[in-house]
């Protein structure tokens, strides 16, 4: 049974259950509206041998990354992450040094974004390290961005260069642990402040974070919003110059969002002024009966076999 089949199966079993105010599954977080406010929750499981190899990442880096991927999910909703729960299963061969390194990395990134630790669980493990983080966001309900909010005509943006993490994983698997890309893979920078800022901009319609590559993640927005997309291949900000890696590589944790076309240039200017970096306009949302991406390379449609990242 594949992991995706299991998620869908469980969600179907709960299709008729009262959700007690919580919104349906389908965004980076689940949202509970409370008057004008929203609480958002997300959870991620990191498993040794699946999401990381113990000799491929330091304990400190893994502590940072475990938190980063969850903060990225909250940011993708347009909200500020405020608190987390951390659960860890530790095998007997994990010593105090590793555990303290992990905790230090987690604390370090939490301090950068002023995120509290408010609970969790720790247990022994017979089989490798498992980490479960639940992150909690809070903010104005009106700021919440959902995957279903893209509209035909919207400009499509990504929040930074793409493919650095995938290039880094390639380096690491070849034994090159010291490259800039390898560092980006081990130590991703979630766009926490950027997500919260974009949450406050009404011209931003749909938003999510890129964890499996744009070629795959953009489809989630297209399906949820019942539309299509045209991507201008030469506008994709490929970190390593290689477009396939940029759109198929996993774990970039950059924001992917759609913007009211008439307001796109101004948003781009305001973002650059606020953050000293640019966001990248890579295409537009189209009317389409099926959720497909058309790739336009210097004016001509190409048919690449680009698809998203799957964990090894």
């Amino acid at each position: 049974m594949t992991e995706f089949g299991f998620i869908e199966h469980v969600a179907r079993l709960f299709a008729d259950a009262d959700r007690h105010g919580w919104e349906a599954i389908g965004d980076d977080c689940t949202v509970l509206p409370l008057g004008d406010e929203a609480i958002a929750l997300t959870t991620d499981l990191l498993v040794e041998g699946v999401h990381f190899l113990r000799d491929g990442i330091s304990a400190r880096e893994l502590g940072r990354k475990s938190l980063a991927v969850n903060l990225s999910d909250v940011a993708a909703m347009g909200l500020k992450p405020r608190a987390t729960l951390l659960s860890v299963a530790l095998p007997a061969d994990v010593g105090k040094e590793w555990a303290h390194g992990f905790a230090a990395g987690y604390r370090e990134l939490a301090a950068e974004y002023d995120v509290a630790l408010v609970g969790g669980d720790t247990t022994a493990s017979k089989n490798g390290i498992t980490i479960s983080v639940t992150a909690i966001g809070r903010g104005p309900l009106a700021h919440v961005k959902r995957r279903a909010a893209a509209r035909a005509g919207d400009a499509i943006f990504v929040g930074g260069e793409l493919g650095a993490s995938a290039a880094g994983l390639e380096d690491i698997l070849k034994g090159r642990h010291d490259s800039t890309f390898a560092a980006a893979h081990r130590n991703p920078a979630p766009q926490v402040f950027e997500g919260e800022w974009l949450g406050g901009r009404a011209e931003v319609h749909a938003m999510m974070d890129i964890s499996d590559g744009t070629a795959s993640d953009l489809l989630h927005i297209l399906r949820a919003s019942s539309c299509g997309a045209e991507i201008t291949v030469e506008d994709i900000p490929a970190a390593k110059g290689d477009v396939a890696t940029a759109v198929c590589g996993g774990e970039d944790y950059k924001l992917l969002f759609t913007v009211e076309a008439a307001a796109a240039d101004e948003l781009q200017r305001d973002f650059a002024e606020r953050f000293g970096r640019t966001i990248h306009r890579i295409g537009r949302i189209t009317e389409s009966a099926t959720p497909v991406i058309r790739w336009i390379d210097r004016g001509r449609e190409i048919m690449p076999s680009w698809h998203g990242f799957e964990h090894f």
Copy 2:
């Protein structure tokens, strides 16, 4: 590094962090007050080979139990559990039948208590099954029960018979899978309705659920409330007639709570009327400079070496 050392270490690292309104760690849930309301969160990790053996519990029972232990934590706060997040790491040798059985059990117990599934994560695993559940409670802030609220003179109650789960684990390890106790171990009944009802009673002071045995768990209340306890050994409702198993055995998931002495008899009557079962008065909270339990057996203090359950 023991699991307990890790929790304490991480909590210390966050001692100076802004908690953004969330209460300090130390209860069965962490609580966010929102005006007159409270949101409560708890999370538990269940690891194959540590918390369960795949041939010792059916998939359906494990689905129920994974949810039950978290609902019990919300009930112990005096609140109603409303929603959960479910994350599962599944190895390749887990087939569709197991996964569907697990999902069915989880759904079944969720239906009994009207609890929604609002998110989660599923991933592959190289090393056994890991389950992480986060449960969310909601209710009046005034109903929230904390471990630190016990007062000298309070009557100490437990919500049902103790030791059934431990006796069941013993049966299972001896190959007796069909005993009543074995069923209680595999399929614990969290006191969800009872916890919410007790939350509405102001004469209930401190409350928690018994997961590691009263001999161990009561110490959490005593430490948090800076007091001691006297337990009347002959009043302990031992499921198997054996007091040591009743107070040292794990995973009973019965409520443990303290009650204003003058109101204790009436509460006991009201509970019996409401639920058709009795709660058991087992002793009283005492003034004490150190958080110790005195065990009084037919009027005479005894000095047993009773301690809490540790997972194998």
